[in-house]
């Protein structure tokens, strides 16, 4: 995992246990003068609420900055950045090579990816479901057609997952996201080995819709961001391999890179090399990566960046 390499050392000494905590070393945001204008954000719906909350917070510091937030899925971000209709392109996955190429064709340089928060994708079941954990191979056999993960048989009923009694005969009712979503893309790439989803996966228009679907369907299973968890669903522990201990979605597991479906959330921006960034965009990103901005991340249910990760991200666009 890319994440584990990144996190491993950084986070061992933070002592984050059980509960999400804010890294106290994150810089406080200091507003500067002369910032005003319009910012448009088009992209991920996973980041939609975060962007809105950040916009609310940022506008407190700059009363007359206007930020408009639109979120129809990560795939809508690159076209908006390329067409110039947005300055901020929140995405819950990395840009694909084709998307970067198109951007480069138009502007002559590559877009800048700024890591803004950490998300864990969870596989949810109904809260009353007795199942507690799954291996990634089983996840693949449940959600994909091809079983590229190498599990021996297709999994279609709860009995095959070891549940007994009334559950054994019941088919799995699968919920997922629509294909414009970065969550869909990430899950496809990292959970089902780039295979194809089964046709029986009910594609939902939003991450919250997935959770609601599972909440109303006792025999349901689905994937969605950890920020959308409600009391009616349960996030399964996942083990990277068959026979290995399953890992819960607790923050310390995610930070330590043990949880297999953790990812960064990004905001893509346009930044020409060797020229200063648009001050409004720069200040917005500085706010996002500040203590205030990362507290908002916790409010939305995601995991905040650590001070080191934030500093690295700031270095990328020379705002530190």
């Amino acid at each position: 995992m890319k994440l584990s390499a990144c996190f491993g050392l950084l986070l061992m000494n933070l002592g984050l246990l059980g509960q999400v905590k804010l890294d106290q070393e994150l810089p406080l945001y200091a507003p500067t003068s002369g910032i005003s204008g319009n910012l448009n954000s088009v992209g991920s719906d996973t980041l939609n609420n975060l962007m809105t909350l950040w916009a609310e917070g940022f506008q407190k510091a700059y009363p007359n900055v206007k930020i408009q937030v639109e979120g129809k899925g990560s795939s809508t971000a690159p076209p908006a950045l390329i067409a110039g209709t947005a300055q901020l392109g929140p995405m819950s996955r990395e840009m694909k090579a084709t998307e970067i190429d198109e951007f480069e064709k138009k502007f002559g340089y590559r877009p800048l990816a700024v890591k803004v928060a950490i998300d864990a994708l969870a596989v949810y079941v109904h809260k009353d479901c007795p199942l507690e954990s799954l291996s990634m191979q089983k996840v693949d056999a449940i959600f994909s057609k091809g079983r590229k993960g190498g599990y021996a048989e297709d999994l279609a009923s709860w009995g095959q997952l070891g549940l007994t009694g009334d559950w054994a005969e019941r088919p799995l009712s699968l919920y997922g996201r629509n294909s414009a979503s970065g969550t869909y893309g990430y899950f496809k790439e990292h959970a089902i080995w780039k295979g194809d989803f089964k046709d029986s996966v009910k594609e939902q228009p939003g991450s919250a819709a997935v959770v609601q679907g599972i909440a109303s369907d006792l025999y349901a299973m689905g994937y969605s961001g950890i920020g959308y968890r409600t009391s009616e669903v349960k996030a399964l522990k996942l083990s990277p391999k068959e026979g290995v201990a399953a890992i819960s979605t607790d923050p310390e597991n995610v930070y330590a890179g043990k949880y297999p479906l953790a990812r960064f959330l990004y905001v893509y921006v346009k930044r020409a090399p060797n020229s200063p960034m648009d001050p409004l965009t720069r200040e917005f990103l500085r706010f996002v990566l500040s203590k205030e901005g990362q507290e908002i991340v916790i409010k939305d249910g995601y995991l905040p960046m650590t001070s080191k990760l934030a500093a690295q991200a700031l270095d990328h666009f020379g705002a530190n």
Binding site: L39, N48, N49, E56, P63, G71, T85, G165, I298
Partner: protein, 561 residues
């Protein structure tokens, strides 16, 4: 079809013959028709009642229940549901009941769980403590528990559960007033200065982009720079004032304690309402209900649209529908006039008419894609290149309320054309000929006689178009509707109506809160409340248009048309 409104007057009623010629078959058909009507009415009423029940209940204050559990834990919250465990219900085993308790206190330091499920068997003791307090807050959602102290500076100005609550009741309205004052300062004076600074910056940019290199340019630039400095120093002073105001706003610090003894401090100004729900009389509950309802329709949203009101969405929806009507009616009426009065009736006109009718059947998202490509990228992009080249971010080259209204106007224009054509056709030939015989030209006849006489039908078309437009969401998602628009598309800054601004819409708000809200459990009832509001808004718009139409009808009824 209400479209036939205009022509049915004066023509003999069609439909089934009323005599008994058809006997049993006729009666069966009549009762079938009646049954279909009843079925429709029941469906509509059922939907309305469901929305009323689910949405209306959202604002009603609930009692706070306190439970002591078998494992010694204590919980406090609103009971939102009581049901049998799904697993026992499905398998038919001995039923186990559980309750869903809204415990609020969403921040990690207070527990961080908005809702919990508790099995009935685990509850050892339950009570409704009279002094339990509900705080509605500007961030982190509701708090259930006890405010235990209020501090100002180093001193303590209130202590104990009762004392703190009394002081809080007194402080909250004061703070709300202060908050409003700060908001006015931000939107008003600071907004003006920022607007001016931005204008100056753009002027300088425009100047630097021009190829002119005379000394005039340098002078003009220096002038602009000086003006900018003046505005910036004004901004500095205002920013200082704002900081002082904020400090005094947040001078009082409230200490709150959850039922399990966790404490947190926050400024008193963060509290929107402080109530003891268990102490409220029925009148008090009705008062609270009304005040919450008013907040919902009149306030701005908070916390990523999950709390506060939806006023900007109501405003955006109404303004967009009105703008669309202003665009679609002339467009549709002119097209209908040409088709009906001037065009030579033949295969070509018939083909055009078929095309118009087909247009009405095109999926609305297709219009959205067209609006994005033609209005936003092509028209908007061109406008930006010609008039706003100094702007760093697109002005018209991105979705906005004007483009959204135009897109919807295209979407609804077939309805208006069809209705207007029917209206024109219904004006009796004798009336036209009378007018012509009196020496009026064709255009005068149309303008003075035919169009006024068919105006009720045209308005019918408009009403139908408005109804369709207000409920439409899909095409708007790509031409300017957003989750959060910081400003209304109307303001005191010239040119007052800002057609390029993005806007919020009730329909999208429903979609967003229902499918994408991070705390969907808490916001589900909000979906029903918002849907109900959308229906109310559409009804009001329609009623207004119907009133106008009835007036016109009455007017032309007396002139004998």
């Amino acid at each position: 079809m209400p479209i036939s409104d205009g022509q049915s007057r004066g023509t003999p009623p069609r439909g089934l013959p009323t005599s008994n010629r058809r006997g049993a078959l006729g009666r069966a058909l009549t009762s079938l028709a009646g049954g279909a009507l009843a079925f429709n009415l029941i469906m509509v009423l059922g939907l309305l009642l469901l929305l009323l029940w689910q949405g209306g209940a959202y604002f009603w204050p609930r009692d706070l229940a306190w439970f002591e559990l078998a494992d010694g834990r204590q919980v406090l919250g609103e009971i939102h549901e009581h049901r049998e465990l799904r697993t026992t219900a499905a398998s038919g085993a001995e039923p186990i009941y559980e309750v869903r308790l809204k415990t609020g206190n969403r921040e990690p330091e207070l527990g961080g769980q908005d809702f919990v499920w508790i099995r009935e068997a685990d509850i050892k003791r339950s009570e409704r403590p009279h002094d339990a307090v509900l705080l509605e807050r500007r961030s982190w959602g509701p708090f259930f528990g006890y405010p235990v102290a209020i501090r100002r500076g180093d001193g303590v100005i209130a202590e104990g559960r009762d004392g703190t609550f009394r002081k809080l009741e007194q402080l909250v309205p004061e703070k709300a007033e202060h908050f409003e004052k700060i908001r006015k300062l931000e939107k008003g004076e600071i907004g003006d200065v920022n607007y001016e600074i931005e204008r100056l910056r753009l002027s300088r940019r425009k100047l630097s982009m021009s190829t002119d290199s005379s000394p005039d340019k340098a002078r003009a630039d220096a002038e602009l720079q000086r003006a900018t400095q003046v505005q910036e120093s004004r901004f500095g002073a205002l920013a200082d004032r704002l900081r002082d105001e904020r400090q005094s706003l947040e001078a009082e610090i409230l200490v709150i304690e959850s039922i399990d003894g966790r404490r947190k401090t926050m400024p008193v100004s963060e509290v929107v309402r402080a109530v003891r729900p268990n102490e409220l009389s029925t009148a008090g509950k009705i008062g609270l209900y009304a005040s919450r309802l008013w907040e919902f329709v009149s306030d701005e949203p908070r916390e990523s649209n999950t709390e506060g009101g939806i006023f900007p969405a109501i405003f955006g929806t109404v303004l967009m529908v009105l703008l669309m009507s202003v665009i679609v009616v002339p467009l549709g009426v002119l097209a209908a006039l040409y088709l009906r009065e001037y065009a030579k009736q033949g295969p070509l006109v018939r083909a055009v008419r078929i095309a118009v009718n087909n247009l009405a059947g095109t999926p609305s998202i297709v219009f959205g894609v067209f609006g994005l490509g033609f209005f936003v990228y092509f028209l908007g992009g061109s406008i930006d290149r010609w008039f706003y080249s100094e702007h760093t971010s697109p002005v018209f080259g991105t979705g906005g309320i004007l483009w959204a209204s135009l897109t919807l106007a295209l979407l609804t224009v077939p309805v208006v054309i069809v209705a207007a054509e029917e209206g024109l056709a219904a004006v009796p030939r004798a009336v036209r000929e009378g007018s012509l015989a009196l020496g009026a030209t064709k255009w005068e006849t149309l303008r003075k006689v035919v169009i006024p006489a068919s105006s009720p039908a045209i308005l019918t078309g408009m009403i139908l178009a408005m109804g369709r437009a207000a409920g439409e969401v899909a095409p708007l998602m790509i031409v300017g509707m957003v989750k959060l628009a910081p400003d209304l598309p109307i303001s005191l800054e010239w040119p007052f109506l800002h057609f390029e601004r993005k806007f919020m819409h009730i329909g999208f708000h429903i979609y967003d809160v229902g499918f994408q809200s991070p705390n969907v459990e808490a916001t589900k009832p909000l979906v029903s409340a918002t849907a109900l509001l959308l229906i109310v808004v559409v009804t009001i718009l329609n009623l207004a248009a119907i009133r106008v139409r009835n007036r016109l009808r009455a007017k032309y009824a007396t002139t004998g048309l």
